[in-house]
Each structure stands twice: as structure tokens, then as C-alpha cells.
Amino acid sequence: MSLEILKEKVMALEMGRISRQVLPLDIATIDQALQGGLDLGAIHEFTGPAASMFAQLIVQRRGGTTFWLSLEQTGLDYYPAALAQYGGVPEKFLALYLPNNAAILNAAYEILASGAAGCVLLDLKNPLNQTQARKLQLAAQATSALGLVINSAHNALSGEGPGLVSSAVTRWHVCVNAWSTDKTRLSLGLTKNRRGRPHHWIVEIDHATHHLHLASLAGERAADPRRTGIGA
């Protein structure tokens, strides 16, 4: 018990906050693995081909105003007309098109520190380095905002490499397993978890309700690692 308390204290020191606020995902095993839910006032990273989709689910659960930061020369927009189909609210979605990486970080810092935003979505070309990631964590830690770094280009098959936010509290690797008109099955890999051990789940999204529920346990996952996208 004392070890648990000590762990909690160390974590609180690292995260720079006394009381922990979480965003439960309402799936018992996932919340358990995260010790209650996703940490608010923290940076989370999403990798894999379906990173945006899962990040959108988190955004929707968090609510509030979403800021999406990207480079102006980026070719990949968020498509607001379809946001509602993914459970988003286009009215509460603000886009910032910025000239360079430094401006993105500057803006992200400002938004996270203001506490006025629900989520900050970062589309980065160049990965964050340790200092930059820590700085963002410092900005977010006093608020209940979520910093979501989307890194869909990163390939988990090649393992830990450059391009990963090392001080993120969690890192997820998300792929689409199966898709039908009414539900999408996602392979959800928690590849980094500062609250516990890495995990893997298969979850399903109901398109009508945007509700996330567990489809199967990790043990039942397909044998082919390529299909799940998680390295051995």
C-alpha cells in the first residue's frame, strides 16, 4: 500500500500536479490499465493509420473547444463537413495554419496554458524533442486540457524510433481492423503507458452512437501481426 502511495506521489511530482484528473473511457479494462482513465492536463500521442479516428473519439469524450494546429503547407485538412459523422462538433473546431514548427509549439503552449481549450490536436511533421515535449507538458499540467499529438506516419512495426513524443503519458497505436456501415473495429495498442503496462485491445465503435466498446480481449487477436499493426 505504501508503495502505491509512493508511486502516486512520484507521478504527481513528475506530472507537476497534486490532484489527478482523468477522462475515463468507460471500458473497464482500459480504464484499469490507465488507473482510472486518460490523464487530463497531459500530452498523449496517437500513432498508426487510424490515429486521427481514435483521437477524434477522445476529443468527443473530452468536449470543449478543439484547436487543431498544423503547418499551412500541409496537404491534409480536417474535413469539417464530416466531423459530425465522427461525433465531432464543427462549430467548436478551430484550425490554426502556422508557418513553421516553432509557431505550432508556441501556439500549442499558449492554448494549453490558457485553460480555455478542451483539446489541442497537433499535426507535426518534425517530431517533438524532449525539451519541447516537456515544455508542453508543463503548460498543460495546471489545466484540464488534453494535448493530442497525431503521428499517423509513424510505423510501429519499425519499433521505437525518432518521431515519438518521449514524455507523453500514453501512446496509442491504432489501426482499422474491420469496417462496416454501422461499426468500425479498431485494433487499439497502448504502446506506452506511464500509469502501468502496455496493453492491446480490439474495440468497436458504433457509428450511430459513437460509443466505444470492447470487441475482444488481446488474447483473441489475429495471429498475423501485420493485421493488427503491433510488433511482437
Binding site: 498508426g48 493509420p49 487510424a50 490515429a51 486521427s52 479516428m53 477524434q56 473547444t65 499551412e72 496537404g75 491534409l76 485538412d77 480536417y78 474535413y79 469539417p80 463537413a81 464530416a82 466531423l83 459530425a84 459523422q85 465522427y86 464543427p90 462549430e91 473546431f93 478551430l94 484550425a95 490554426l96 495554419y97 502556422l98 508557418p99 509557431a103 508556441n106 501556439a107 499558449e110 492554448i111 490558457s114 485553460g115 480555455a116 481549450a117 499517423s152 506516419a153 491504432v174 489501426c175 482499422v176 481492423n177 474491420a178 469496417w179 462496416s180 456501415t181 468500425t184 485494433s187 501485420r226 493485421r227 493488427t228 499493426g229
Partner: protein, 491 residues
């Protein structure tokens, strides 16, 4: 005259050409004004354009711009404020100047009249000026009296008698009646007993006569000049440090906001100019989403600019100018919903900060647009200048979460014809595709010239790759070849 002279001023080549200004009323084009050079052609404004062209086939005609004329007159009014601060626009092209107590600055009244007329002539405007003790009389003499007539108090009654009845501005009815009765001048009217006159031209007519002669009151509301919202500070010793600049800015903002808040207005756009000792001027602008008089918030917006300030050898002068103000929105304090209000305030503050940090054009939100073309189904708007929100309608078919601005061509490793390819090279990886739904056919807007849609009709498919991505693929086909593009990502 003003309308044509305004055009000549802008385009000196027109000066000696006769031309007409044409206006449209319902389906009829008629001449609203003629230029000075067209005066001796024997035409009068009001004739139709076709009549004009029948008489003078080669005459030049231009479209009249009443709004531009009004703006020009407004600028002339401001120009005239050099003679007196009390001035007002009349109907048509009339400007009234109250020169009581101002004429001696220019010599005397006669000199002032000449100065006004000459300076207007230099600007290219022909003006008739008249001076009298009442507003109605001044109008009458300027329009119908001898040019530059200066009528004193003593001979007003006598001089006014010579004016035609039109000078009374009684309106068309009584004026025509007077003409028909043979009462051509004001003198003829004054000779009649008032009681019988009142039954002919009405009490309003009597009132106009009294106003002209200064026996009845005519109230004039003079144009109020907008205060220039500028605060300035001059330093005997140049400021050589940022802290000093910030303190001075604080004072300037406090003063300006105090002035503004007394009229219930707030700043939307302000500019700060710092004059350096070496004659360099540094200028910074800020904008806010809502009019505000909040000194600390405004100071914070300026502070970002001041961070990288180079004071050089010192700042000797600071000028703060509120370029755009708007009435403060009197927000009712919500009962019980204070948290939401605070959240909204914080968000507005954040949008201000971001827009000022990176430029307002970089902070955008999306508004719906009505089009079946995917990339046209939304438009972007600046968050700093919000337009009324419209509601979004969810598209009937599944649309991608992320959309490529320019669709990305995909490489096929073998030609699959018109079918969805089995595998493609996507992001440097070979992916096997599983078609999910499709085709959905989207036709380009034929009335729009959009290079992206030159290739014609597109057939869209949703496909899943074996790497776990959802792609929104489309196919364009012409006689020569079939091409595939990725337009969006579903995940």
C-alpha cells in the same frame, strides 16, 4: 455639377468633353447630370438616354454614382471644417457653414466667401456661395441670389424681396400655386396680408417666410465630428528601456479606455506608434474579437510585440490610436451560468492572443457551404471576425475525417482496368485493398471552372488497406487510361 466635376477631378481628360451621367430608374435610363462642357447643348437633366443619343449620337455618357457623390460631399464637409467647426450637410449638394465668430480669422466675411469659392475652384468644383443671417436666407441667396451675395441684417428684408418664390423651399405645391397666381418674388408675397396668404400657401409657407427673415426659429443640428481617439505622450528624456515603454503604454491605455468607456465604446483595433530618437517609427497593431476596455488584456496583446522591441537610442514619443471602436456589448450577467461565461471569456481572450501572435488570417473556423463537391462543402472564416453561425447538416454518405487538399495519385503495380485495384503503393508501402462500399458517383459543377475537376466525373470507393487505414479512393477514366486518387482518409 458636383457629380460631373468629381469625375473630371479623377480623370482630367474629361474636362473639355461634353458628357452625361446616366442613371437607371426601373427600366428607363435617364440623364441625371450633364458636365459643364455639355451645358450649351441645350439639354436638361431628366431626358432619357435614347433621346440624348438621338440628338447627339457621339456623346459620351457614364454611369452616375450617387453614393460616390455623397461620399465626396462628406469629404468636402470635412474639408470645410477648416473655416468653422459648425457645419452641416443640407439636401442635394448643399453645405451649411455657421461662420459666426470665425470670419475675422480670414479677413472679413466677403474675403471668406471669396476664399471658399476660390479654393473650391482650385479643387475643381464650381460653387455658389451666399451669406445671410438665417439659414433659409443663405440657402436662397446661394441658389437664386447674385453670386457671393453677402446680406447683412439691415437689408435682409429688402434683399430677400428680390428672390424668387422658389428660394423659400416651400415644396412643389405652394411654389407652383404662387407662380400660377403671378406671385413671382418674395416681395410680392410679403405685400399680401398674412391671413389671406396663410390660406393660400399654408402655415408651413408662412413659417418658411418667417424663418428666412429671421422671425421664426429654424433649428440646425450641426454635424458632430468624431473624436479622433488618439492618446499621445512626449518624453523630455527619451525612454531607453522596455519597462519604461510598458509603463507609458499602461498610462496611454488607461487614458484612452477611460475616454472610450465614458461613451460605452470599446477598442476593436488599436495601433501603437513609437517614435525613436533616430526618426524611425515602430508601429504595432492589435485586434480584438469583441470591443473591450480592459486595460490589462489590451496591454497583454501589445506586450507580445514589445518583447522584441528595439528601442535603439530611445523612444521620444508614443502615440496610441484606436482605429476601430464599437459599442461595448452590455452583456447581462448570467445567473448561475457564470462558469460558462468565464469559459467563453477565456476562449475569446485566447482567440485574440492567437490572432495577434500569428496574424488573424491564420486562426480559422469552418462554416458550412452548400455544395455536393466534397471540398466545397465548407468554407473557412476568420475566428477574429465571426459571422453568424449556420448549422451543419450531416452528409448522407460517409465522408472522410481528413481530406487531402490536392488528391494524391496512387501507384498501381498492375493495371486492373476499371475495377478497384487489388493492391496499391501507398505511403511507400505496398497495401492490399479490400473494397468496402462504392461506387459513389460525383459529378463536377459544369458551371464552375475548377482545374481539379477537369478530369470529369469521379467514382468514389471506400477501401480498407491491410495496414489498417481507411482510404477514400476515386477513379477517373477517359478513353486513354484509368487513374486512381486518394482524396481522403477515414481514420
Amino acid at each position: 455639377m458636383l457629380a460631373s466635376e468629381r469625375l473630371i477631378r479623377a480623370e482630367p481628360g474629361l474636362a473639355h468633353k461634353p458628357f452625361a451621367l446616366v442613371m437607371r430608374e426601373a427600366n428607363r435610363l435617364y440623364v441625371s447630370a450633364l458636365s459643364g462642357a455639355a451645358d450649351n447643348l441645350g439639354l436638361a437633366p431628366g431626358i432619357s438616354l435614347s433621346d440624348l443619343q438621338a440628338a447627339f449620337p457621339d456623346i459620351l455618357y457614364l454611369e452616375a454614382d450617387p453614393l460616390g457623390d455623397a461620399k465626396c460631399l462628406q469629404r468636402l464637409l470635412r474639408w470645410a471644417s477648416r473655416f468653422t467647426p459648425r457645419l452641416v450637410r443640407g439636401s442635394a449638394c448643399d453645405l451649411f457653414l455657421d461662420i459666426a465668430g470665425a470670419s475675422h480669422l480670414f479677413g472679413d466675411e466677403t474675403v471668406l466667401l471669396k476664399i471658399i469659392q476660390d479654393r473650391l475652384a482650385k479643387l475643381g468644383f464650381t460653387a455658389r456661395v451666399g451669406l445671410a443671417d438665417t439659414k433659409a436666407a443663405a440657402w436662397g441667396f446661394a441658389h437664386y441670389g447674385p453670386d457671393r451675395s453677402n446680406i447683412g441684417k439691415d437689408n435682409l428684408r429688402q434683399a430677400a424681396g428680390t428672390l424668387p418664390v422658389e428660394a423659400l423651399q416651400m415644396g412643389p405645391g405652394p411654389t407652383i400655386l404662387c407662380r400660377q397666381l403671378g406671385l413671382k418674388t418674395i416681395h410680392a408675397l410679403l405685400a399680401l396680408p398674412r391671413a389671406t396668404l396663410a390660406s393660400r400657401i399654408g402655415l408651413d409657407g408662412i413659417k418658411r417666410i418667417d424663418q428666412l427673415l429671421g422671425e421664426a426659429v429654424e433649428v440646425t443640428r450641426f454635424a458632430r465630428h468624431q473624436q479622433r481617439l488618439v492618446e499621445e505622450m512626449q518624453f523630455p528624456d527619451p525612454i531607453g528601456h522596455n519597462v519604461g515603454v510598458e509603463m507609458a503604454l499602461d498610462t496611454l491605455l488607461t487614458r484612452l479606455c477611460a475616454r472610450l468607456s465614458s461613451t460605452q465604446k470599446g477598442i476593436r483595433n488599436a495601433n501603437l506608434t513609437l517614435a525613436r530618437v533616430d526618426h524611425a517609427a515602430l508601429s504595432f497593431s492589435i485586434q480584438t474579437i469583441r470591443p473591450t476596455c480592459d486595460v490589462p488584456a489590451l496591454k497583454r496583446l501589445f506586450a507580445r510585440h514589445l518583447e522584441q522591441l528595439d528601442v535603439g537610442f530611445g523612444i521620444e514619443r508614443m502615440i496610441l490610436h484606436a482605429r476601430h471602436t464599437a459599442p461595448l456589448s452590455n452583456q447581462q450577467l448570467g445567473l448561475g451560468n457564470r462558469q460558462a461565461d468565464e469559459q467563453k471569456d477565456a476562449l475569446d481572450g485566447l482567440i485574440d492572443t492567437l490572432s495577434n501572435m500569428f496574424g488573424y488570417e491564420r486562426v480559422q473556423y469552418f462554416t458550412p457551404a452548400d455544395s455536393h463537391i466534397p471540398e466545397r462543402a465548407f468554407s473557412r472564416d476568420y475566428a477574429l471576425y465571426p459571422s453568424p453561425r449556420q448549422s451543419w447538416t450531416t452528409p448522407l454518405r460517409k465522408r472522410p475525417l481528413r481530406l487531402f487538399r490536392k488528391p494524391v495519385a496512387v501507384w498501381l503495380d498492375k493495371n486492373a482496368g476499371m475495377d478497384v485495384p487489388e493492391s496499391i503503393i501507398w505511403q511507400n508501402q505496398k497495401c492490399h485493398l479490400t473494397p468496402l462500399t462504392g461506387p459513389e458517383r460525383i459529378e463536377p459543377d459544369w458551371w464552375r471552372d475548377d482545374p481539379q475537376w477537369y478530369s470529369g466525373t469521379r467514382d468514389y470507393w471506400w477501401v480498407q488497406t491491410d495496414t489498417g487505414a481507411l482510404l477514400w479512393l476515386y477513379r477517373v477514366a477517359d478513353a486513354a487510361r484509368v487513374q486512381w486518387f486518394v482524396h481522403g482518409l477515414g481514420s
